[in-house]
Symmetry: C2
Subunit: 303 residues, 2 copies
């Protein structure tokens, strides 16, 4: 039993490596839902869909999000009706949101929906939303307060970030707490520490469950050479008062982490991370293709 705390693209690519070397059904992904929002009356769950569709082999390969070979006829018409078009919703993609929204309205939990969708797409990895409750991530910027997706997509992460807030009072699901408690290994995927992993760790009881787990907790730094592999991790780390380096990642996870995997280019940061009481593995962490994904996963599993 391997449990992976996951955001979107970085986590999905890491999981692609994992399923190459262990039986997918032994892997459980706990996925951030802080990016979830309602658009056109539909429940959009960006990270759940990225993880599910990547593992299903239907993700847009270059983008890492959205469906491969998708079309945009519905979105174009929603625009005719005055609806927002800044969030690219493909016609196939919309089917996930329509199905999710219909199931939720019929009384299913987000956990039920995520399980239904991943099974329908032939994904054997267990995919758990971090919570069945809403906990939208808001980005406080010099230009105002925005939902994370508005900040990221509509405003292209261009605003000066002052703070990050997790709204609501969400609880982790029992399945999430069980997946942490019963894991033989826990991996914090190379996802944004502030807005992908941060929302999971902010749920009541999750940090305690990670500390109490008998399993080793291994993180992979998504910041390499002071730059985010993908997305706006640098300004978001600064906004919560952490350095945008592997040391900052270690600080974000300090109370729960046993080992941090960092890239070769950050080898000089090893002493500073070890000083936080966290063991360090230095390796090549950039996942350019299937071989690198598998190598990173193999290393994390065989530690």
């Amino acid at each position: 039993m391997i449990t992976v705390l996951a955001g979107g693209v970085g986590a999905a690519r890491f999981l692609e490596g994992m399923v190459q070397i262990v039986a997918p059904e032994t892997i459980t992904a706990i996925v951030n839902t802080g990016d979830d929002f309602i658009l056109h009356g539909l429940h959009i769950a960006p990270d759940l869909d990225i993880v599910t569709c990547t593992l299903a082999g239907v993700i847009h390969p270059e983008q890492g999000w959205g469906i491969q070979d998708d079309s945009f006829a519905c979105l174009e018409w929603l625009g005719r009706f005055g609806g927002p078009t800044w969030f690219q919703l493909g016609d196939r993609d919309l089917a996930l949101h329509i199905q999710r929204t219909a199931m939720l309205r019929a009384g299913a939990t987000l956990t039920d929906v995520a399980d239904h969708l991943r099974r329908a797409l032939g994904v054997a990895v267990q995919i758990l939303p971090m919570s069945d409750d809403p906990q939208p991530t808001h980005i406080i910027t010099a230009a105002g307060e925005f939902h994370f997706e508005e900040y990221l997509v509509e405003r292209r992460a261009a605003d000066h970030v002052l703070d990050v807030r997790f709204m609501g009072a969400a609880q982790p699901t029992p399945a999430v707490l069980a997946a942490i408690a019963h894991a033989e290994r826990i991996v914090i995927a190379p996802s944004n520490p502030v807005v992908s992993i941060g929302p999971i760790l902010a749920l009541p009881g999750v940090r305690a469950a990670l500390r109490e787990s008998a399993a080793q907790v291994i993180g992979i730094s998504p910041i390499v050479g002071g730059k985010a592999i993908k997305g706006p991790a640098v300004p978001l780390m600064h906004a919560i008062g952490l350095p945008a380096t592997a040391v900052g990642v270690a600080q974000a996870y300090q109370d729960v982490l046993d080992v941090l995997v960092i890239d070769q280019v950050d080898a000089h940061l090893q002493p500073a991370i070890e000083a936080l009481g966290i063991a360090v593995i230095v390796t090549d962490t950039i996942m350019r293709g299937a071989a690198e994904k598998a190598a990173l996963a193999r290393m994390v599993l065989h530690l």
Copy 2:
């Protein structure tokens, strides 16, 4: 001010003729919503969409329903998730249902939604749902009870029909009653008397409003030579105990109708209809193209 009681394809084609000869903004269509149903969690309104999209010039021209040049990527994926695929929902078409459902969930009435959609599509005719309340039409058949769209589309109108029921306790909107009260001319479009016009007439107060209106009420028979121009009017007329002829149409509207327009081939039925106290106009009622649509509308308006 001309008010037209309308179902789907037949009414939409008649309205295409009307807008050729009078200012569209002087026309109000009161549209059947008995066909409305929820599918994939979305509020589908077949007749409202047929009327709106026909007048907008975006309807599939051969079918008379669905959007021209539409694609079906979303529906195909909804099928992957176990959703029903018997009802052909195109990608563009879905935008109407998504927008409608989102607006209804946000507190808009169906009347608000219909007005928003027709304006967005550039339709000047006023389009009024018959009610803001649900009143689903159920077809009682030898094989069981079905929503009208299930009977018509999923089961291809193949079941032996025993009865027709209008469920719920819908009220006509104030706008509907006003459009009848203030009309200078009222037309009952060549739509199915049982499941298109019947649901409108079944709303409390509508028959009385039609009787009390100072305007002439003119119907156009959708049954020509004992056959429906389109759809299952014949078995549905029989199920409610009426002959499937222009005489049966006259009987269905007897208390509200001043004039019934019938086709040349039904000229021999004129005495039987006049015996019901309804004046008869015999003309060519089959609308093959724009010229015939305009001619029929001109005749109805100049009576």
